[in-house]
């Protein structure tokens, strides 16, 4: 008996072909292991199914149908929702706004976060460094809606801190959120302030994993300052930079709360003035819940999803060629 035992694949052996087919896991130990495993993931799986996958599937369904929340009848319309969208100037305007927003916010946040991380790393042995780190991270843990309201006051053209600072610097004052040209940049400023802490912490984590001896080898090799940073540090934190850029891109493409809060309220409906801050996620929200065109909104969501997926894949392809060196 003992001599035959090793011929049986071990229950825990993931590589054995038998375990790729769960219906072959007839042995009691395997069944019990599977039950326990699925039992453990079940609660979160249920939450995900009900609140995430099911709505997503439903969205996929109504994007191709004419669907009304007040009637049970729905008709298949093929790509008509998409065709309608492409004919709407506001849809293109929202894509343009989103693009502008992403193209500014992602590089600025990434660079600022990297700079802050390098600075915090330099001073990490000084007393109070932990506090500085906490202060940089703090905005990110504040609720967007609450701090957005504070920033509405900061951006107030008459009494706000922003214009006060410009005045003190002898610069022309701006209309900020009430200006067609400055409303979106105002949102960008808020977003950078709110999110830079998260990316700073990510960069700090990345910098902490740098192989110390490689940096010392660079020092011994006579490199310092910019050369050492550009040729050694930057390539080595490539993977974390990639992660930060992807995360920032996805986050900014989906920005909603601060735009809704900052540009709503005293300035009329969110997305203004004159649709200058109407990004795609805001338009999706308004289309669905203001104008009740759920099918159109769903189609728009699909487009946004496809865009994010495409951009992330493009970033990944780029990163595979440039960033990962192992």
């Amino acid at each position: 008996m003992y001599r035959q035992a090793p011929a049986e694949p071990l229950a825990l052996d993931q590589t054995s072909p038998r375990h790729h087919r769960w219906w072959h896991a007839w042995d009691p130990a395997g069944v019990r292991e599977a039950l326990v495993g699925y039992g453990l993931v079940l609660p979160s799986l249920l939450v995900f199914l009900v609140f995430y996958y099911a709505p997503a599937m439903f969205l996929l369904y109504i994007a191709f149908f004419h669907w009304n929340i007040f009637s049970s009848a729905s008709t298949f319309v093929g790509l008509r929702n998409f065709r309608i969208l492409l004919q709407q100037p506001i849809f293109w305007q929202s894509l343009l706004n989103t693009g502008y927003y992403v193209v500014v916010v992602v590089p600025v946040t990434t660079l600022l976060a990297l700079a802050l991380a390098l600075l915090l790393r330099e001073v990490r042995h000084i007393r109070g460094a932990g506090l500085s780190q906490a202060l940089v991270f703090l905005p990110h843990v504040t609720p967007v809606v609450a701090t957005s309201i504070i920033w509405v006051w900061i951006f107030d053209p008459n009494f706000g801190l922003a214009n006060f600072v410009l005045h003190a610097l002898h610069l022309p004052q701006l209309g900020w959120l009430s200006s067609v040209h400055w409303a979106l940049p105002s949102v960008m400023i808020y977003t950078v302030w709110h999110s830079v802490g998260l990316y700073t912490v990510l960069f700090l984590a990345g910098l902490a994993t740098l192989p110390k001896q490689v940096l010392e080898a660079a020092q011994i090799d006579g490199a310092r300052g910019w050369l050492s940073f550009r040729r050694v540090v930057l390539p080595l934190i490539g993977p974390i930079t990639f992660f930060v850029v992807v995360l920032a891109t996805i986050n900014t493409m989906q920005t909603f709360s601060q735009i809704y809060t900052l540009t709503g309220g005293p300035h009329g409906g969110a997305g203004g003035p004159a649709f200058s801050t109407t990004t795609d996620s805001l338009l999706i929200y308004q289309t669905a819940f203001l104008y009740l065109h759920f099918s159109l909104a769903s189609a728009m969501s699909l487009i946004l999803f496809a865009l994010i997926l495409a951009i992330t894949l493009a970033q990944k392809l780029l990163a595979d060629r440039m960033v990962f060196y192992r």
Binding site: P211, V214, A218, D221, G222, A223, R231, G238, R326
Partner: protein, 373 residues
């Protein structure tokens, strides 16, 4: 004129005193190996010379230049790290070139020099690979090449062979030494491996707890260790140390029976009596007693025999005290009792407690060959 001089160098990390009043010279074209157990401060010593740490007090000189305050990037030394610390994102060529690029050498110069170093180390075929694709031995060569390419003032090596397998380590040991003989660059080499220290060094520095115990040529340090610690640290298997008390001309073994062993007068006179000392002898200096043997005779009860092919490590007891004998004699059987002996002048004596070497036989010669710090 020494190339690298350390003068009363101290290093403290908070309350921990890592290096205590280190004085050390590395001469022109000298190969100095610092050896000691982990935590003895040898790596910190090397890092201070490299400029990666600054001493709490003391001075560092390269020839006539005060280097204590000079930053690492301006010291022009070549360093080989234990884990090689190659730039993982660069090709071997770029790894080698980086130091020259940092010093703004011209492209043709760089290419010429790299070609030269690559052929010296036989890594020409690897130049376009990245470190991840190399074997341990190849990485080791690249790391040496990187240190070499800039014509460094000195070579610092921090346990460069400890990540290699035994066979490769043996080969690289010889290669590194040969390289040094060819290039004649002053080298400070840190290791915990006493074999590396013995085989590679012009001079050995033995350290423990931040203090240099002994500096000297390998043969001298091996045959006349300054302390009991040095005696046991160098040599494998380590020197047999038998704690005894000298009383009435006898060595009283510290075993259950307090067995007395008579000492000859010339040794007896050299040792303060009564005193606690350790009596040491190298395992390979013991031999089977014959009619003509003079010296300490030891009746050893064999417990285990480790065959190593070329020799045997015989673990035995002598009046209940464990001793080791290294021999080429075949056919030593377990549980037999052998009569071994060792000449009196092959015995080492160390003060109990301090571990300091005593010279009962040759007190007058002591100051000549030992460089005690």
């Amino acid at each position: 004129m020494a190339s690298i001089r350390l003068r009363t160098v101290n290093k403290q990390f908070g309350a921990r005193h890592i290096l205590k009043d280190i004085n050390l010279d590395v001469g022109d074209s000298e190969f100095v190996v610092v050896v000691g157990p982990s935590g003895c401060g040898k790596s910190t010593l090397l890092r201070i010379v490299a400029g990666l740490e600054s001493p709490t007090s003391g001075e560092l000189w390269f020839d006539e230049r005060a280097m204590t305050k000079v930053p690492a990037h301006a010291r022009n030394i070549g360093m080989v790290f234990q884990n090689y610390a190659l730039y993982p994102h660069m090709t071997v060529f770029d790894n080698l070139a980086f130091g020259m690029v940092a010093r703004k050498a011209s492209r043709p110069d760089i290419q010429h020099k790299i070609a030269e170093v690559a052929s010296l180390l036989e890594i020409e075929s690897l130049l376009s690979s990245k470190p991840g694709a190399l074997s341990g031995g190849q990485r080791q060569r690249v790391a040496v090449g990187r240190a070499l390419v800039r014509n460094p003032y000195a070579f610092l090596m921090d346990e460069p062979l400890s990540n290699l397998d035994a066979l490769l380590r043996e080969r690289m040991r010889i290669e590194l030494r040969r390289l040094h003989d060819r290039l004649q660059i002053p080298t400070l080499y840190v290791t915990h491996d006493q074999t590396e220290a013995m085989t590679m060094a012009d001079r050995i520095v033995v350290m423990r707890d931040g203090v240099i115990l002994q500096v000297g040529e390998p043969e001298v340090v091996y045959h006349r260790p300054a302390t009991a610690f040095v005696a046991q640290f160098l040599g494998s298997p380590p020197m047999n140390l038998i704690p005894i008390t000298v009383r009435n001309g006898d060595a009283i073994l510290h075993n259950a029976a307090s067995t007395p062993v008579p000492l000859p007068p010339e040794i007896r006179h050299g040792l303060d009596a009564p005193s606690d000392v350790s009596m040491g002898f190298r395992p390979e200096r013991l031999h089977l007693s014959s009619a003509s043997s003079v010296g300490l005779s030891i009746s050893a009860k064999v417990e285990t025999v480790e065959p190593l092919g070329s020799r045997y490590h015989v673990h035995a007891t002598w009046h209940g005290l464990p001793i080791t004998w290294v021999t080429t004699e075949v056919g030593i059987a377990r549980s037999t009792t052998l009569n071994l002996s060792i000449p009196w002048d092959e015995l080492h004596w160390f003060e109990h407690g301090t571990g300091k070497r005593l010279e009962p036989l040759r007190a007058s010669e002591m100051s000549l060959s030992l460089e005690m710090v």
